[in-house]
Symmetry: C2
Subunit: 336 residues, 2 copies
Amino acid sequence: MAVLLQAGDIFDFTIDVEEGVVGGASIDAHGTPLTDEVLALAKSSDAVVLGAMGGPKWDGLDYSIRPERALLALRQELGLFANLRPVKLFAPLAQASTLKPEVVAGTDLLVVRELTGGIYFGQPKGVTTEPDGTERGFNTLVYTTPEIERIARVAFDAARRRRGRVTSVDKANVLESTELWRRVVTRVRDEEGYGDVELDHVLVDNCAMQLIRDPRQFDVIVTTNMFGDILSDEAAMLTGSIGMLPSASLGGKVGMYEPVHGSAPDITGQDKANPLATILTVALMLRHSFDQGAAADCIEQAVERVLEAGPPHPGHLRGEGQRGGVQGDGFPVGAT
Amino acid sequence: MAVLLQAGDIFDFTIDVEEGVVGGASIDAHGTPLTDEVLALAKSSDAVVLGAMGGPKWDGLDYSIRPERALLALRQELGLFANLRPVKLFAPLAQASTLKPEVVAGTDLLVVRELTGGIYFGQPKGVTTEPDGTERGFNTLVYTTPEIERIARVAFDAARRRRGRVTSVDKANVLESTELWRRVVTRVRDEEGYGDVELDHVLVDNCAMQLIRDPRQFDVIVTTNMFGDILSDEAAMLTGSIGMLPSASLGGKVGMYEPVHGSAPDITGQDKANPLATILTVALMLRHSFDQGAAADCIEQAVERVLEAGPPHPGHLRGEGQRGGVQGDGFPVGAT
Ligand SMILES: CC(C)[C@H](C(=O)O)[C@@H](O)C(=O)O
Ligand SMILES: CC(C)[C@H](C(=O)O)[C@@H](O)C(=O)O
């Protein structure tokens, strides 16, 4: 909030901010991870900044009412089909990576993850019990041509603003749904005037290897919801600092912005949480939702300068609070 | 073959070996990646050693008749539900890793991947076209209690022969099928006398991070077919040498053994392919299918000694031939 206000002062804009609780904090206050009021607030805003949500306190709850349900519901209700996760190594933090500096130095890639389709939301799903007591759990991975087309366009457009290369990741040699994915991504490139963008296709298992072998080979990676979940976290960890990475979820009227990390409940109250990912998240919001590119640049440069002056406690940068998944309670900032 | 014969001489056993072609070589010879004859040969053997299969030559074919179909069919026909992928850093190769030596040194984990279920084989699947031309691709992720129970037992048994820890990997916070997975794995531990084995559960995205952050925290990782595909390749690459890693697929009457790497068609005919993973695969076969543990130990020690004397060309160790997936043509060795 301090950074947002300061940026507004310097660049002469005002953003009205309202706060609402979601996730763990909402469960405690209202018995549900996302209230209708907060959802309405989010929908009526221009942008939402989302804090990390969840933590050991709510781990015993049924999955259907856990903190992360709020996140999934917000993504779907706001139509945020495109999740952009830039993974950039800040030079002063090269040492924080568990990879050799000469391998990660200069890493600058963008994961474009499909966010409202695929196996996260596909129907049918559930667990059934057969007469003999055998349980059967199932989920459906499904993609349609329009869903693939629109995320492919986001990736190609992003590549044009970067180094002009898209790597589409699938498991086309096994999964028919991703065979369709590969075919449609190729068609969008060839038939919608993206001939200037270079496109290649990599299998997900190979991509998981290549990210470690040579992360600099990638510019834009576009992939499904599930593969994007895995690969973007893997890619984030290459930088040694998932406490540094912002993300943007776009596609609807309202954009949603989140740090990639969890809420690190293991360091609650110790006054050493690293706010840089959230600050960079605000920069992303200013750029994508409010057309304040200069303010965004300024914030990002300020972060770089802070890091050059000496990195924060390395424990924070490594995302040590992450084990066990999403943690802590969160709040959205509706900005209208 | 030379190593197998030599080991038989020293340890006084004979293994009858028959060869058959699968994958690319079979497509060329018979128009199909797996003939009934070769399948029957595999079924009538005690063990199968499978070479890497596939390559650019067959990339244009429809996925339904590509080389890798042979692999999937063999796994299913032979009932090989448990894929064991040991990931061990050979000390002399620590430098080949892109991770810092102090992070990877001592890495010794085992990925136990479910191999005949999950989204690889779940029905329904396919691509349909709606009247307006929209295509819809879908696959089904499905697991039943017996499928989860048996792979959990394999993991717990393996952990007992190692350091006594199992990490089960799922996406229980999103996928109902893996919520069932988590519940059943826990029940097998608690109710089937595996109380001496330590069990924890990690989300797949977090696991992808933790493998890079600190691979030594893992002993046995047990997971679904799809997650196992991704995570085992990621884990393999940590060692910097996927050209070094063998794997065993067990569960039926016949065991199948494969190197993890592809067939690296980019170095065909250059006489510099690294045979060590295949040699280690033979060791695994001797141990698991022929109860020749002493011969297996001997082969593994011989490999270590070769590496101490000076590693092979680093290019091979890095699995450079992997990009684009499984490659080259392969052959199984039926051993009766
Ligand atoms: C909390 C969880 C539902 C979520 C996801 O899987 O999408 C998280 O891992 C993420 O990547 O934002
Ligand atoms: C070739 C392909 C079908 C196979 C798989 O996905 O199982 C391979 O990647 C592997 O891991 O053995």
